[in-house]
């Protein structure tokens, strides 16, 4: 019996544990296994294997029973996830339904989640931009929150490392506020986007329009064939899972790569309840897992633990990891764990029409869009609000079909549509300021099926966000008008925080243990063999789509942990 226990404990002991198999966890797993560490990835959701488990991937539009629409009953029962634009008939199986995993909304918050192999990396819109020092220096220059403990130069090589492997299509634009990366050939702007780009370049010296930088393979095909991935075929059905591996997901890329090393163990249906802290050793020794199906508890052990459960779930796990040493949650000596949560403000959009270039159209589909890098308050404070916004920008030929009448006339109209003007549109992606009053914590009473406290979310907009919305709409209206766009209409959809799916913070990085949770290597100040390299680590949010930065942090920290283990420092 005694021996059995020892054997069993041995079988449950690894060099490294990674919690979560999503975008950031996949990267930690890849780096660890490549460096020879026996690595356990714990994933609470079911297994989704690349290619095999994409049931809708090859369906024609007319093979979807409801032509893409989700059933009314499902939408009514799950209002939060139903508000996500990507939650459709052909993708719904990759999203968490509200009813399956409840949480508490002290303030309204749309928490969009994917619990399965790959997490939300199957579902993302694949936009990837680097931060620059204008972003990292923001908090210090503008005097909000604490200073980032790193600068661009610390992350730049890791951006390159990640970009090369995932495959990023983009144009070298030479902008100091949005550094270039390791790019595969860019996708094309449409005729009207190119026109707007030229116009804005002439009219403004601080603004530019570029083609989006997106995690799609558009070149260097032999290199990606080694991952079993092929070039993007422009299906623009990415969220179904790509049969070509044309875009990056953990499922198609990092996880199979890690598996090939022979050093990866993946366990699905494994809900991490907490991290185990050993007071005598002064470090974490493992994690406590609840089997999602049997509800049995099991412990796993490792020298180093990476928390990559996605920003808010990472907060939850740490808050729930209490011990005599850390009664308020692991590493939470200063009481700041769960606080300074922030997100991106996506509330406003603008649309219009352009009557020129009518001799042109587009052809094929483009799983990408145009992008307007932040131009407000970049080099100095110039407005009455802090920070700024980036924006999407796209323009396509409108196709006009006359739907009036019935009978032969209607049928004839439907079969003979005409090109209308170009339709142009933009949406904002605003930086929000992290505040102590925007937080998550554990509900004192309610628990989920696995006995884990429900997460309570309390995150709100503030006056700075309102001022930014106003400025975005004013500036974009001016830019649209000056380009000769007509029928301009603006909209604030008043969506609640969360639907941006860029929730960040709660376990922020910083220089001082008194005012932050993580050091410059993403280690908990108070428990250095636990690293947090997902969105929870973000000190501020800037305006870039964040996942590239999470992946760069994950890769950088994993390599740091490998070095520290060698030096016997962990």
């Amino acid at each position: 019996m005694a021996n059995l226990n020892i054997d069993s404990r041995k079988e449950r002991t690894f060099d490294a544990i990674v919690i979560g198999s999503g975008m950031s966890g996949g990267w930690a797993a890849k780096e660890f296994t490549e460096k020879g560490l026996k690595t356990l990835v714990l994933e609470r959701g079911r297994e989704v294997k690349h290619l095999q488990d994409y049931p809708t991937t090859n369906l024609q539009p007319y093979e979807l029973e409801h032509r893409g629409k989700v059933k009314q009953k499902i939408r009514e029962d799950n209002p939060v996830v139903a508000r996500c634009y990507a939650f459709r008939e052909d993708t719904q199986h990759f999203f968490v339904k509200d009813q399956e995993h409840p949480y508490v909304q002290e303030e309204p918050f749309d928490w969009i989640r994917g619990y399965q192999t790959g997490g939300k990396s199957l579902l993302w819109a694949r936009q990837v931009q680097r931060w620059s020092d204008y972003d990292f220096e923001g908090p210090d220059r503008d005097g909000f929150v604490v200073d980032w403990p790193i600068r661009y130069k610390d992350l730049a090589p890791w951006y390159s490392h990640v970009e090369k492997f995932v495959g990023v299509s983009g144009n070298k634009d030479g902008l100091d506020n949005l550094p270039d990366g390791e790019f595969l050939p860019p996708m094309e702007l449409t005729a009207v986007e190119q026109y707007f780009k030229n116009h804005i370049a002439e009219k403004y010296d601080d603004r530019s329009i570029i083609i989006g930088r997106c995690a799609h393979i558009t070149g260097n095909f032999e290199y990606y064939a080694k991952q079993g991935r092929g070039g993007c075929q422009h299906r623009n059905l990415c969220q179904r899972g790509c049969p070509f591996g044309g875009y990056f997901s953990s499922n198609s890329s990092t996880l199979p790569w890690a598996e090939k090393t022979g050093n990866l163990t993946m366990r699905h249906h494994s809900v991490v309840e907490s991290i185990i802290y050993d007071e005598k050793k002064g470090k974490a020794t493992g994690v406590r897992v609840i089997d999602a199906n049997t509800k049995e508890a099991v412990e796993y052990y490792a020298k180093v633990i990476f928390v990559n459960a996605s920003a808010l779930n990472t907060n939850l796990i740490l808050l729930n990891s209490t011990s005599d040493r850390f009664p308020e949650g692991l590493g939470n000596d200063n009481g700041l764990l769960g606080k300074y949560v922030a997100f991106h403000n996506y509330r406003a959009r603008i649309s219009g029409e352009y009557d020129g270039l009518l001799e042109y159209r587009t052809e094929g589909r483009r799983p990408n869009g145009g992008y307007i890098p932040r131009f407000r308050n970049v080099r100095r404070q110039e407005t009455d609000f802090l920070r700024g916004y980036a924006a999407g920008f796209s323009g396509f030929r409108k196709i006009h079909t006359d739907h009036s009448g019935v009978g032969e006339e209607l049928k004839n109209q439907l079969l003979n549509p005409e090109y209308g003007p170009w339709r142009v549109g933009s949406h904002m992606m605003g930086e929000t300021i992290p505040k102590e009053s925007n937080y998550v914590n554990l509900d004192p009473e309610q628990k989920d099926e696995w006995g884990i406290p429900l997460l309570n979310v309390s995150v709100k907009y503030d006056d700075n966000d309102e001022a930014m919305i106003k400025d975005y709409l004013e500036q974009l209206t001016e830019m649209f008008e000056s380009a000769g766009f007509t029928n301009i209409s603006v909209r604030d959809d008043h969506r609640v925080p969360g639907l941006d799916i860029h929730e960040m913070g709660g376990v922020r990085m910083g220089k001082e243990p008194e005012t932050s949770l993580l050091n410059k290597w993403n280690q908990l100040h108070a428990c250095p063999n636990v690293y947090v390299t997902d969105g929870a680590c973000m000190t501020s949010t800037s305006t870039q789509n964040p996942s590239l930065t999470y992946m760069a942090f994950a890769a950088r920290s994993a390599n740091h942990a490998v070095d520290e283990l060698k030096k016997m420092n962990l």
Binding site: L51, Q52, Y54, P55, T57, N58, L59, Q60, P61, Y62, E63, E65, H66, R67, K69, V70, K71, Q72, E76, E188, L189, T190, A191, E193, Q194, F221, E222, A225, G228, R229, G230, G231, Q233, H234, R235, L237, P243, F244, G245, E359, Y360, R361, T362, E363, G364, R365, R366, I399, G405, V406, G407, E408, L410, K411, L414, L415, N416, P417, E418, Y419
Partner: protein, 195 residues
Amino acid sequence: MNRRTVLKQLAVMTGGMVLVPSCDFSRNDILSAYDQLKVTQGEVNILAKLCETIIPSGEAIKGADDLHIKDFVLVMMNDCYSKDDQMAFTKGLKNFNTFTRSVSGKSFEDMDKDESKELVLKVLNKDIDTSKFENNEEYTMEDINSFVNRTKQLTVQGFMASEYIMTGIMPYQLVPGGFSGKVKIKEGEKVNVNG
């Protein structure tokens, strides 16, 4: 890498994949829609006639009857609309014959092609003398409007998003292979909404 190698490589990558068979909405879902919306065969015939009035079948191009659009309308109504929308729709459907009798003296099912077209146009154009059925308690003009307009919307959708249109008439490419942002439109070129 040349095109042949790309294709070979893609064949390897997708080779192991389980291809989901093409699934038109199954018989069961249609029956369950009949069932839950509580529509009789007679009412289904009225709906079919309305669909066919909206997009008639023809020699050259198929229409609502050929493409079983009524089944699409019923499945969509059953699965994708709120209880209120469903109520208005079924009320309009169930009373449609009575309604047409009171405004034009003829049941919808007995109308010929021109008569049914004229009637439907009148409803769509809000050109109905509602005083003729003011005192009935079974249905309102809103129910009729809701039924006719929703049926029209779904008939158009079902037609345009049918396999027939999306393969033969306005082909949709599942794998376009590329994207061009600026292509000159040729003289007399046909516009393809799925292009």
